[in-house]
């Protein structure tokens, strides 16, 4: 092999080697840290239908008569829902607090909450509050829990009115109520 061919084929070999080296390296490296291994992720997420904006009232006879026979109902209720107000406190610090409007053109849909924070592993005290009523400034749902989070754990703070309030997911049931 003459020197010209040596340069040509050697150069090509170096090119292909460099090409696959770039592919191989950048396809997996450098490693990205999403959440530090000594931290957990707390996600507040739920969908909740606030109470109606106002009281229902009985329909008058004239109002009933004005309705088609198949649509006559006894009372009329406002369609809109109240916004819900949520506050999540972790170790005395508010990690989430917002008032979320109901969805829909007529504001008659559910309010959706999604918020995630990263917290150090260890024992934490959670205070979860929600108000979904119109006539009070007080939170009608208030719960306090003590949780122990491992590094890499994903704690989800959900809400279920049927279950009586906030529900913690992906956490050991040893999460204790705190008074």
């Amino acid at each position: 092999m003459n020197s010209g061919n040596l340069v040509r084929y050697g150069g090509q070999a170096i090119f292909y080697l460099a090409f696959v080296a770039v592919v191989a390296y950048l396809s997996t490296s450098p490693v990205h840290t999403f959440v530090p291994s000594d931290h957990a992720r707390v996600t507040v997420t739920f969908a909740h239908l606030g109470e109606r904006e106002g009281e229902c009232r009985p329909l008058t006879e004239e109002e009933k008569a004005a309705l088609p026979p198949n649509m006559r109902v006894e009372e009329k209720c406002p369609r809109g829902r109240v916004p819900i107000t949520v506050e999540i406190w972790l170790d005395g610090e508010m990690i989430y607090g917002d008032t979320i409007a109901p969805t829909g053109l007529h504001r008659d849909g559910r309010s959706y909450v999604y918020h995630a924070v990263t917290v150090p592993e260890g024992r934490h005290y959670l205070t979860m509050k929600m108000r979904d009523q119109v006539e009070t400034d007080e939170f009608n749902y208030v719960q306090k829990k003590e949780v122990t989070l491992q590094g890499g754990q994903s704690l989800v703070i959900d809400f279920s009115a049927q279950a009586g309030g906030f529900v913690l997911r992906n956490v050991d049931l040893e999460a204790a109520d705190v008074r």
Partner: protein
């Protein structure tokens, strides 16, 4: 200012590209085939993907396990295919980014080329979505991370009410149907859309380079295969929504937006993505390119031979029904929006022959800024200046490669054209037999890298009688040389010139004086046929 910087960077990069040409040759220089290489990698991805689909289970519960079987139990065929699928996808991103960077630096994104650039921008989005959905289908920790972050990114758009991200933090909420939808998008929807997008991207290109040269295909494929065997692609543990992924091996070719999202938040990222997309899409008009006059058909000299329409690299010439009642069935018609003003059409027109006894020389298709009469006069003048020299060599060069007017040889008669393809072969013959030049050296852009795509190729083929209009059989081919090189190739041109001059020593010029073929376009056309 920006254009000046761009030109300087381009000039610097051409030095690097010249190194690649030295190693691969111009014809096989990978940097000359970046678009075609991207398409080639896409085919590798498509075929390896189809193979993998035979072993892949399209379900949340089965996806990860099926890929584990592919990777470990069937490593020698399906596992290698999986790795090839990933690495070819990554390679496609490299060539794609290099392709668009190079076209930008070469100023090949403005003017009549706006369409190809503009239609390439959505392709970027498609390729990235293609890659992201592919990683989603593995349903490992990386997929979990991608799913969660993609959902968080999409949730800030005002089109979704229900936060999608909620579905990727609670195990029971992950939807099997949604996963199937993602599989459908990746396996069926996006490949079809991508092929359609490619079709649009290449719509205004005649004879697009769809496939790279075979040595490049073999070389890149072999390299990726070796990598696939030596470093198999692996999953990163099954997705588990009760645990948040901490450290992840990211594919930085496809997934760099996710770490950026982690640091900046969704609004900044959306702003950057939309801003970058709009910026990219508007680049053809930043600033608008000064439009050169486009080719003009001179009907009285057009015989409707179709050579110009066949040679135009951008399909800017159509052959339409004759409008002037002459006996020729067709005439050429220029589409001004597609015309690159390269002059390749004038080089292909038999009526461009300087041997014609027409004064002034008017071709069947002319560039208003550089008519054939001017080219003829330039050749006459350049060779006349060498009167008294023992040897006269006509050196023709294009505007995008070595500036032939800077060839400092006393026996060089330089003529510069917008593209080497603008020079009709009859003009080379004219210089040799008509004006008594000893030789002709035609130089221009590197092989497979012509600024106007095909100028150098057509020139070679015309000289070699592979493509009409042919160089006359009476012309001594030993006196004609072509050299295709890059901007920094001045020394190569000088070496080639000196070599030609040396070869021609002792060989007197063939003839002197004009040898007319007749004044009409028809006579010139007959001469070519």
């Amino acid at each position: 200012m920006a254009l000046t910087v761009r030109r300087r960077i381009n000039h610097f990069i051409q030095h690097i590209e010249d190194g690649f040409t030295a190693v691969f040759g111009g014809q096989n220089n990978p940097l000359h085939h970046l678009g075609a290489l991207t398409i080639f990698f896409f085919w590798v991805v498509l075929i390896s993907g189809l193979y993998l689909f035979a072993f892949y289970e399209t379900s949340l519960s089965g996806a990860y396990d099926s890929l584990e079987r592919i990777t470990y139990d069937h490593w020698w065929h399906a596992g290698v295919m999986r790795s090839l699928h990933r690495y070819a996808s990554d390679a496609a991103v490299i060539t794609m980014i290099l392709h668009l960077s190079r076209e930008f630096l070469r100023d090949r994104n403005r003017g009549f080329r706006w369409y190809s650039w503009f239609t390439g921008v959505p392709l970027l989005w498609m390729v990235y979505i293609f890659g992201i959905t592919g990683y989603w289908l593995v349903w490992d920790k990386l997929a979990q991370y991608i799913a969660l972050n993609t959902a968080e990114l999409l949730d800030v758009l005002p089109v979704f009410t229900d936060p999608m991200a909620r579905n990727f933090v609670i195990e029971e909420l992950v939807s099997e149907r949604f996963f199937t939808l993602m599989a459908f998008i990746h396996l069926v929807g996006l490949p079809i859309i991508l092929v359609l997008g490619l079709w649009f991207h290449l719509l205004r290109i005649i004879r697009p380079k769809i496939n790279p040269p075979r040595p490049l295909m073999i070389g890149t494929f072999t390299a990726l295969m070796v990598l696939s065997v030596l470093r198999p692609a692996e999953s990163q543990g099954p997705a588990d929504l009760s645990v948040v992924p901490t450290q992840l091996s990211i594919d930085w070719f496809y997934l760099p937006i996710y770490p950026i999202l982690d640091y900046t938040g969704p609004f900044v990222l959306w702003g950057a993505l939309i801003g970058l997309t709009l910026f990219m899409a508007s680049l053809p008009w930043l600033p608008p390119q000064r439009r050169e006059p486009v080719a003009e058909v001179i009907l009285e000299n057009c015989t409707g031979c179709t050579f110009c329409a066949d040679d135009c690299p951008y399909g800017a010439i159509d052959m339409v029904t004759r409008s002037d009642g002459r006996r020729f069935p067709k005439e050429a018609k220029v589409n001004p929006t597609l015309c690159a003003s390269c002059g390749i059409c004038t080089g292909s027109c038999p009526s461009s022959s300087p041997f014609r006894n027409a004064s002034p020389l008017v071709s069947g298709i002319e560039m208003p800024q550089g008519p054939m009469e001017k080219m003829k006069q330039d050749i006459d003048e350049a060779l006349r200046r060498l009167e008294g020299q023992e040897q006269k060599i006509l050196v023709v060069g294009c505007e995008y490669s070595v500036d032939v007017t800077e060839i400092d040889r006393p026996n060089a008669a330089p003529v510069r054209l917008p593209c080497a393809g603008m020079m009709p072969p009859s003009a080379m013959d004219y210089a040799l037999r008509g004006l008594g030049a000893d030789g002709v050296l035609v130089t221009g852009c590197d092989c497979a890298d012509c600024q106007f795509r095909l100028g150098n190729l057509w020139t070679d083929e015309r000289i070699q009688k592979k493509r009409p209009p042919y160089l006359s059989g009476r012309a001594d081919r030993a006196r004609i040389r072509t050299l295709w090189t890059k901007l920094p190739g001045r020394n190569k041109v000088l070496r080639e010139f000196d070599a030609l001059a040396e070869d021609l020593k002792g060989r007197p010029a063939e003839a002197s004086g004009s040898e007319g073929v007749g004044g009409t376009a028809q006579e010139a056309d007959d001469e070519q046929r």
